[in-house]
């Protein structure tokens, strides 16, 4: 029971982390554009490469968190 509670707690923490990371990624990659079209994306090619690199790292972190969540759900 204690193990299950601990796993549940960890799962909740991971869910929160994942939500935060997703939010950050969304903010960076899907900013609203000046023409106001819904769902339109921003071309980031002109941005600082460090931003793209940061997005790349966040994508991996999201993937890793999802995998951890999957494992915890299966436990």
């Amino acid at each position: 029971m204690r193990e299950r509670d601990a796993a549940q707690k960890e799962l909740d923490t991971n869910r929160r982390t994942l939500a935060k990371l997703s939010l950050r990624l969304d903010t960076m990659s899907a900013k609203s554009v000046s023409n106001g079209k819904p769902g339109a994306s921003v071309e980031l090619s002109a941005s600082d490469p460090t931003v793209i690199r940061h997005i790349n790292n966040l994508q991996e972190q999201i993937y890793a968190e999802r995998e951890t969540n999957k494992r915890l759900k299966g436990a």
Binding site: M28, S29, A30, S45, I52, E60, Y63
Partner: protein, 178 residues
């Protein structure tokens, strides 16, 4: 930036230029290459990290002989995020090869063992993971790596080493002493 191709992902898509009254021809098509895995006998994308390499027919890419593009050096745009997907545009191949800034590398567990995507220090900081597909034990990753960039996988640390005398030919080799 100059990018040398060491391999391609398993999934190809193409798109014709659509303009009213325009005579369509293959040279004006765009070709999209990304990662994929086998699902019930056919290749599916199963993307975990979505991205692609885009080649232009007009830029000299021959869709009938993609293997001829291996070890060719292309002029590329910087990697970017377009419509939520990582994108690397290959503009045109160079007429004669030069020392590239980066290599387009495809990694699979058959060579490296299981890829530990997202774990700390699984790849060198100067590399980019463009696309990644996974299903059960199958994985395929598309990376952009400079010479001597590395990944750390189940079987050890693999380094992209340019060939002496032909620096546009890169090979992923297992580093000794790991």
């Amino acid at each position: 930036m100059l990018v040398a191709v060491t391999g391609f992902g398993s999934v190809w898509r193409w798109r014709l230029r659509k303009a009213p009254g325009h005579l369509q021809c293959l040279s004006e098509s765009a070709y999209y290459n990304t990662t994929g895995v086998q699902v019930s006998g056919s290749v599916r994308q199963r993307p975990k990290i979505v991205g692609y390499a885009r080649f232009n027919g007009q830029g000299g890419f021959d869709p009938h002989h993609p293997s001829r593009m291996i070890n060719r050096v292309f002029e590329c745009a910087d990697p970017c995020v377009w419509q939520g997907q990582n994108k690397l545009l290959f503009k045109r191949p160079l007429a004669s090869p030069e020392r590239p800034d980066c290599f387009l590398v495809i990694v699979r567990p058959e060579l490296t063992g299981v890829l530990k995507v997202g774990s700390p220090n699984w790849r060198s900081a100067d590399s980019w993971l463009i696309a990644f597909s996974e299903r059960r034990e199958q994985q395929e990753g598309m990376l952009l790596m400079p010479a001597y960039g590395w990944i750390r996988a189940e079987l050890g640390k693999f380094v992209i080493e340019p060939e002496i005398g032909r620096p546009w030919v890169g090979r992923l080799v297992l580093e000794c002493g790991e």
